[in-house]
Amino acid sequence: MSHWPLLSIVTFLPILGVALILILRGDEAATARNARWIALWTSLVTMLVSFVLWADFDTRSFDFQFVEQAVWLPGLKIAYHLGVDGISLFFVLLSTVLTPICVVASWTAITKRVKEYMIAFLVLETMMVGMFCALDFVIFYMFFEGVLIPMFLIIGVWGGARRVYAAFKFFLYTLLGSVLMLLAILAIYVNDGTTDIVTALNHNFAPALQTWLWLAFFASFAVKVPMWPVHTWLPDAHVEAPTAGSVILAGVLLKMGGYGFIRFSLPMLPDASAMFAPLVYTLSVVAIIYTSLVALAQEDMKKLIAYSSVAHMGFVTIGIFTGTPEGMQGAMFQMLSHGIVSAALFLCVGVIYDRLHTREIARYGGLVHNMPKYALAFMVFMLASVGLPGTSGFIGEFLALVGAFKINTWVAFLATTGMILSAIYMLYLYRRLIFGVITRDDVRSMLDLNWREVVVFAPMIAVVLWMGIYPSSFLHPMQPAIAHIVQHLEAARQTPHAPALAQR
C-alpha cells in the first residue's frame, strides 16, 4: 500500500462523490435520495481509507509520513506537498469520521436542496482533510480559506432565522484573520525562498520578524479557535447553522486554530511564542471563566454549548503554549475529545430540535420519562464535556492543567475554576432538559431515539469511553511529534539563535 498516494485519495475522494451527485438527474425526491446515499458511501469509503492511514502509521517516528510531493508552480518552489505526522493524523481522522456522521444526522432533517447540501459537505471534507495534510503554506492556505465557501453556504442556505447575519459574520471575521496570515506566509516566502512548511519549521527566523509573523498567525488562528475577545462569531454561527453544520464547526473547524498554533506558531516561532505566552494565558483564562459564566446564563441550548466550546478551547490554547509535553499532549487530546464530544452534544440538541423545533431550554423538561435512551446518550456526552474521569474530557483537561501547573500555578488555578463552572452549567442544563416532570403535551409525545440516531450515537459513546479509559492508543502516536517540538523549543530557549535542530 505504501506507494499509493493515500493522502491524496483521502483528500480528493469526496470530490469524486461531488461529481457523481452533480450528474444525478430525475425528479427531486429521487435525486435527494440518491444524493444522500452517494454522500454517505463516499464519506464512509473516505473514512475507511483514512483508517488505513492510521493502521500503517509508524508511531515511533516524529517525521512526516505518507509524503507526496509534486511540482506545482515550478519557478516559485511552491509544491504540492502532503504528509501527516502524529499531530495531523488524528485531525484527518476526526474530519473523516465526523463527515459520515453529519450525513446521517441530516438524513431527514434536511429536506430542501438536498443535492447542494451534500455537495457542500463533501467539498468541506476535502478542504478540511487537505488542510491538515498540507505541507506547503500556499496549499495549506488554499484549503484553510476554501473552507469558508461551503461553510458560508451551509449556514446561509440551511440555517435558522438569523442565518444571513451569522453567515456574514462568520465569513468576514475569519477572512480578516486569515488574510493577515497570508501576508505572513508571503513574508516567510520572501525570507526563505520557499513556502515549504518542513523547511520553514527548521528555519530560524530573526526575533523581530518572529514577532510580526507570530502576530499575523495569531490573528488568524485566534479567530478560528476562537479566543476571547474574537469569539463572538461562534455563538451566532452555531445557533444559526443546521445541526450538521454545528457539528463540523465545533468538531473540526475550531481545531484548525489549535492545529495552527501547535504546527506553526510554536515550533516555527519559538522566541515569539515564549514572549507572547503570557498574553495567550491571560486571554485563555478570561475565556474559560467569562464564557463559562455566560454559558450559565443561556436560555438557548445551542448557544450554551457554543459558549462552552470557547471555554474548552481555552484549555487547549493554555496547554499548547505551556510548551511542555504534558500540556501539548493535553491540548491535542482535548481537541480530539472536544471534537467528538461537542459534535455529539450538538447532535443531541439536533435530536430534540428535530422533534419540537425549538432550542429554548425551558420548553423541555422531564425527557427521561419518554426518552430514556436519549437521556443516557446525552448523559455520557455531558459528563465527558464536564471532564469526568473515565471519559475523554478528563484526560485532555487534566494533562493540560498539569502542563500549566509546571509553568504557572495561577494559570492552572484559574483554569481549574473553569472545570468547576463547566460542571455547574452542564449539570444545570441536563437537569432542566432531562429531569423533572413533563408539563407539556408536545414534550410528552416526543419519541425516543430511532435506529438511525442510535447508529450515530453508539460509536461516538464508544469512542468517548475508549479515549477516557485507554488514552494511549491516541497519545502514543502523537508522542514523538510532540517530543520533537518540545526538544526544538528547549534548544531555542537555551540558545536563542541556535541553528535549526535535527532535520526532519
Binding site: G75, E116, M142, G146, F152, L153, L176, L186
Partner: protein, 486 residues
Amino acid sequence: MPIYSLHNFLTALPEIFLAVSAMALLMLGVFQSEARAAKEVSWLGVVVLVIAIFMVGAQNGARHVSLAGMFVIDGYSIFAKILVLIGSALSLILSVRYNEREKIARFEFPVLVLLATTGMLMMISANDLLSLYVGLELQSLALYILASFDRDNARSSEAGLKYFVLGALASGMMLFGISMIYGFAGATGFDTLAAHLTGATPPPAGLVVGIVFLIVGLAFKVSAVPFHMWTPDVYEGAPTPVTAFFSVAPKIAAMALFVRVMVGPFHGLITEWRQVIWAISVASMILGALAAINQRNIKRLMAYSSIGHVGYALIGLAAGNALGVRGILIYLTIYLFMNIGTWAIIISMRRNGRLVEGIGDLAGLSRTQPAMALALGIFMFSLAGIPPLAGFFAKLYIFMAAIDSHLNVLAVIGVVTSVVGAYYYIRIVKLMYFDEPAAGGAFDRNMGAEVRAVLIVATIVIMFFFLYPSPIVSGAEAASAVLFPG
C-alpha cells in the same frame, strides 16, 4: 532606416493588419444590406481579432525597436497584447446578440472596437511619449463613440459625453505633463529618457511635475482614485457589452502602458513616483471596497469593483520590480476572465425581453437558474479573492511583490480592504442562494449559444486555474523580466 523598410512593417504587422481590416470591414458594412451587415461584420471582426492573436503570438520574444524608435515589441508587449485581443474578442462576441435585441445593431460597432483595439496595441508598444499619446487618443476616440452607441438613449449619450469631456481633460493634462518632461529632460523617447534619468542626481522639479501630470492622465485611463469619477456613470450608462469591453481591454492596455512608462524611462526616479502610486493605490482600494457596498445597480457595483481591482494591480507597480510586474500581468489575466464571465451573466439578465440591472433582481437565482447562479457565485468568490479560485492567485502574486519590496503597510491595507470588499461580493452570493426568488421570476433562458460559450470558458479558467497555473505564471514571469534587463 527608411520608414518603408520591411522591419518596420513586420514589427507592427498585427496593428497594421487590424487597422486595414477595420477599413475593409467598414467598406463591407457600407455595401452590405443593412439587415445582415451588423452580424456579419461583428463575426468577421472576431475572426480578425483571433488572427491578430496568432500574429502577435508568432512574434518572437526578442526586443525590436522600429518606426524611428517610436515603437517597440518584446515579450512584455506580446503578453499584454494577447490579453487585450482576447478581451476585445470576447466582448465583441458578447455584443452581437445584445445589440440585436436592443435594436442598436449597427456595423460601426465592431469597426470601432477594432479601431480602439488598434490604439490599445499601439499604446502597449509605445516607446516614445508621442506614440504613447497617439495610441491613447486613437483608443479613446473610438471608446467615446462606443460609450454613446445607444444614441437614442439619454443615459448612453450622457455616458459618452461625460467620458469625452473628462477624457479630454485628462488627455490635456497628460499632454501638458509630456511637454514639461520634454522641456526639462529634452527628449520624449523612452530609451533616451531611461539613459539620462538614472536617479544619480536629483531630478529638476519641473520634470517631477511633468511625471505627476503624466501619471494623472494614465490614472484617469485606468480609473484609479481620485481620477475615477467618470467610471460609475459611464459603466452604468453605456450599453452593457460596451461596459464589458471598457472593464477589460482598455484597462489592461492602459495598465500595461502605465507599467511600461513607469519602469522604463522613469525607473531611475522610482523614489519620486512610488509615493504617488502608493497613494492612488491605497485610495482606489479603499474607495473600491467602501463605495460599492451601497450600490443597487450591478453595473455600478462592477464599476466600483474595477476601481478596487485597479488599486490592487497598482500595488505591483508600486513595487516597481520584475516581481511586481509579474503580479500585475497575472492579475490582469485573471481579472480579464473574472470580469468577462460576470459581464456575460449581466448581459443575460433579461426578464420578458427587457433588461434588468438591479442587484435585487438576482435574488433566488440559485432556484430558478442554478447553473448561472453557480457561475456568478464562482466569479464573486473569485473577485473577493477566496481560494482555490483564480482571484486568490491574482492577489497572492501581487501581495508577494509588495512584501518582497517591503511595502508592508500597503499590503496590510490591501488585505484589509479586500475583506471589506468581500462583503459586497458575498452579498450577491447571499441574494442568489439565501433569498427567495425575486418577484419577476426567472430570467429569460435564451441567453444564446455564444454568450454561454464565453461564460463556460471564463468559468473553467477561474475555477480550474489552480490545477495548472504554470503557463500563465511562467508566461507572465518571462514577460515581466524583459522590462528589467540586467
